[in-house]
Amino acid sequence: MENDNAVRVRGLVKRYPDKVAVNGVDLDIHRGEVFALLGPNGAGKTTTTEILEGYRRADEGEVSVLGTDPAHADRLWRSRIGIVLQTSRDEAESTVAELVSHYAGYYPNPRDPDEVIAAVGLEEKRKTRPRKLSGGQRRRLDVALGVVGNPELLFLDEPTTGFDPEARRQFWTLIENLRTSGTTILLTTHYLDEAEHLADRVGVIDDGRMIEIGTPETLGGRGARTARVSWSDADGQHELRTDKPTAEVAALMARFGGEVPELEVRRPSLEDIYLELIGKANDAKSVAIEAGAL
């Protein structure tokens, strides 16, 4: 019996000769949710994803994807997942329409190829070969090939890297529609706004470790979103965190007898929280390194 989680990972470790790419990651992805794996370049997103897809072997840990260990996956399992790799540049001589219907032929319950082409917005390019597509169109073809098999679980590794804002918006709509159709999605990105916009839950990964998992609203914990009030006086810059910024400002007004120099009230954006999370992780690392050096 499969449980409610499409993906279950415990203590995942992957080592390369000169790098521990994934270092003890735990992860659950619920059925029907969009989960974003967010982290800077080299964090271990692709390595983790490709272990879940069955391309790479874990050195340690338990991995279960749709109830199966991807290292021992069969055709039936592959027919239930869809994969959009981080890089793809195969220069097929077939057209978009030919490719999408050919790939549909690999699956037991494929989607209608024409509907898929329409869904990714490539109707105008049906007769075009991949090399003649723009970067964004190319990526949408990748998605078309990834979803034409009607997967229960879709992996998207940095689907929008290099897109202009307009193309990214269009792509987001595409993912939202897939989600509405019930597909579970694991997407990796180093764009915070993308994770915030698309994901039900976000896992922040850095240097092979999962720093935090939460909804975009709760990321960073309770304290992370408290307001910051800053001002300056003869002693220099001041900043304090508070749950009652209005009261603080009133108190400052009273103290300065009117205008407060360089007054600013700010709530950290998700970006601030993210940078702080990654920064903390790096601080902890450098402390550990210093301790080790002593």
């Binding site: 055709r75 790799l85 793809s88 077939s94």
Partner: protein, 270 residues
């Protein structure tokens, strides 16, 4: 699940891949020129240059037709597969395919199917040009065509498995043509495809005898050259038995190697 339909069969996916591979082959200019039309172009050049020069009693077109047929088989199998698979691996197509429920065997059915279709089409075109345009006498004896069939099958089969294995040699897709084409060209020169084989230096013939193309070319000469022509071969005979053995050994070695070394991802894929 209620609506679990069966996965498509390995054969049906293999046939779909064959169709796709053949279509892509004929759309790709480079493959068309350097694999498909190459022997035909050379046959045309040789018969134009040497015209009625006497090659042990036959004209240039007659003498070179079997060599070009052999060459075509080798290009359509070995060269075509080695280059295309190296490119497909480097560009990530193989990796993408591996992530779908396509059975791995279907991929190879597609490749072998493509080799069969293109090499038969190439042979038919070569034969038509030889017979109809260049006035070469095409044999009609069933025994010769029987020989042709097994030589053709052994040639395409060994060339294909060796091509699949050799596809791992180029370090990148860009290097594929540059690595594989000279190897094939060298083999063609040494195997007497472009020259009269018996006029090649002994050491060169010795080297060529290790590889399949020499035996493929000799076999094709036995099919297409007039009776008694074997006196011009170095050993005075067509050596069909030895040829069959050498090609079969290469087929087995190739099969073994292809299974051992084939990979769906680049070497650095982790």
């Amino acid at each position: 699940m209620a609506d679990t339909k069966a996965l498509p069969s390995t054969l049906s996916v293999g046939l779909a891949r064959t169709k796709l591979e053949v279509r892509e082959f004929f759309r790709e200019r480079e493959a068309l020129i350097f694999t498909f039309f190459f022997p035909i172009i050379f046959l045309g050049i040789f018969s134009a240059v040497f015209g009625n020069t006497d090659f042990n009693g036959v004209n240039a077109a007659t003498y070179f037709t079997p060599g070009m047929i052999a060459s075509g088989i080798f290009l359509s199998s070995f060269q075509s597969l080695a280059i295309s698979i190296a490119l497909e691996r480097d560009e990530g197509l193989l990796k993408r395919l591996r992530g779908t429920p396509m059975p791995p065997q279907s991929y190879f059915i597609g490749k072998i199917g493509q080799v069969l279709v293109t090499s038969i089409a190439q042979f038919a075109l070569l034969l038509a040009i030889s017979g109809l345009v260049l006035g070469v006498d095409i044999p009609t004896e069933p025994s010769r065509w029987l020989n042709f069939v097994w030589i053709f099958i052994l040639g395409t089969a060994s060339g294909s498995v060796l091509g699949i294995a050799f596809s791992v040699v180029p370090k990148s897709g860009k290097a594929a043509s540059a690595v594989i084409t000279p190897v094939v060209l060298l083999l063609q020169f040494m195997s007497g495809v472009y020259f009269v084989y018996s006029s090649l230096p002994g050491w060169m013939r010795g080297v060529a005898s290790v590889f399949p193309l020499k035996w493929l070319a000799q076999g094709m000469r036995s099919v297409f050259l007039p009776a008694g022509f074997e006196v011009n071969e170095p050993g005075g005979s067509w050596q069909l038995g030895t040829g069959a053995i050498v090609l079969s050994v290469w087929l087995v070695v190739g099969l073994f190697l292809a299974q051992r070394v084939f990979r769906w991802t680049r070497r650095d894929a982790g």
